[in-house]
Amino acid sequence: MKIDPELCIACEACIVYCPMGAISMQDDVAAVDQDECVECGICLRSGSCPVDAFVEEKLPWPRQIRAEFSNPLVPHHSTGGGGRGTEEVKTNEVTGRLKPGWLALAVEFGRPVTGARFRDVDTVAQALAKVGVTFEPENPVTALMADPKTGKMRDDIMNEKALSAIIECVFPREKAPEVLKTLQEAVKKIDTVCSVDLADLVQPDESVAAEKMLDEMGIFHRINGKNNVGLGRPRYKGGD
């Protein structure tokens, strides 16, 4: 996103809308720091500019991925979908993606507030790949990997920044302690934050094995979370 300096009246109304703090006053007009801007479009959609000074240009590769990951209304060129991740377990009673005995992990870089460079995604993805996770093939981060077996991201996107980007992967339940410990070590090497989540199937007695495992490992989890209540149809084969 850019601001036309000839139109800007220096009212500063747009500055607080930018989640990356990328808008500032330069030479008495508002300007967007192009390195920090994640092309989320919030400034434009806020309607805060009284003179329509924002200029939204067609983004070249690889900058276009900033908008794809940061603006929920822009679909990914790789998957055709919007947002940052996939249906994951939200439709699992229909798709059967997550099987009994497996867990699904999501690591959402840059959320909340900080944004993230793909070089940080690369650091963690390569660490997770070494302990044998399987990256979700329909996830747009996976689509940007040079090699989904190693977790290596494409070299030409490493410095691109997004409001957030999500690694989604699955692994057998018995690997969970190794995967989570690897993640704990890998995030020490990144220059941003990540929100982490773990999904599991609910047992017939309403218990969730992952919750017990997290407690035994001493890993914090919030009291609130997501519940797929199982109303979708058709049920996947073996899902009844």
Binding site: E87, T114, V187, D197, D200, P204, E211, N228, P234
Partner: protein
């Protein structure tokens, strides 16, 4: 998409925060889904939803309820949302959606014990649960909890910390009510999962 997860706050505050997500599974049940999404919104409105939105279109504060319904196509692939600020309305919503028997996937985000209780009361066995393990990495870059508790209600990060602080300043100065400030923030969350009722309470507390 983990946008309805990772909402931070105290247990007391989170007792007034339930998000319903209703969606198609790509390649399975998109045919004739449009009327089901419309039905979902009508049920949500009847049960006093404090926010509603379509991830592909926008929220009630920017688009309006009628336009959200009008944009829905016959075979429509999307995720729609409704937010409730109390357990009673959320429980009625769950019961009504189950009885409407529409066959799309429903995800309810909220305090696990409360959602689990609602499900059991209505004979629903949950299929899967997703746990937030919190925020890892360079957490020193984060703003204070009072700001995080507001901005984590927009899972796509559309609401800046600066904007939350500015709204709290407006409330403190008496230029806006907490309710109006919360609705302004809600308009920036395109999916419609921001809870303006809870946000008004949080902004009022920040403004003290």
């Amino acid at each position: 998409m983990t946008h309805t997860l990772h909402r931070s706050g105290t247990e007391e505050s989170l007792r007034g925060d339930f998000v319903f997500l209703f969606m198609t599974a790509k390649g399975y049940n998109t045919a004739d889904s449009g009327p089901k999404f419309k039905k979902f919104f009508e049920i949500a409105k009847k049960n006093n939803a404090v926010n509603m939105g379509d991830a592909s279109f926008g929220n009630q504060f920017t688009k309006g309820f009628d336009n959200i319904l009008g944009n829905i196509k016959k075979d429509y692939m999307t995720a729609v949302h409704a937010v409730f600020d109390n357990e009673e309305d959320a429980a009625r919503m769950l019961k009504d959606v189950k009885e409407a028997d529409m066959g799309l996937s429903l995800v309810v985000s909220g305090i696990f014990d409360r959602v689990k209780g609602m499900c059991q009361n209505h004979g629903i066995h949950r299929h899967a649960a997703t746990y937030s393990l919190g925020i890892w990495g360079k957490t020193e870059k984060l703003p204070p909890d009072e700001v995080l508790n507001v901005i984590t209600m927009c899972g796509h990060g559309m609401i800046s910390a600066a904007r939350v602080n500015a709204m709290a300043d407006e409330v403190r100065a008496g230029r806006k009510s907490a309710e109006d400030a919360a609705k302004e923030l809600a308009s920036q969350c395109d999916c419609g999962i921001f809870n303006p009722s809870r946000a008004a309470k949080l902004l009022a507390a920040m403004a003290k």
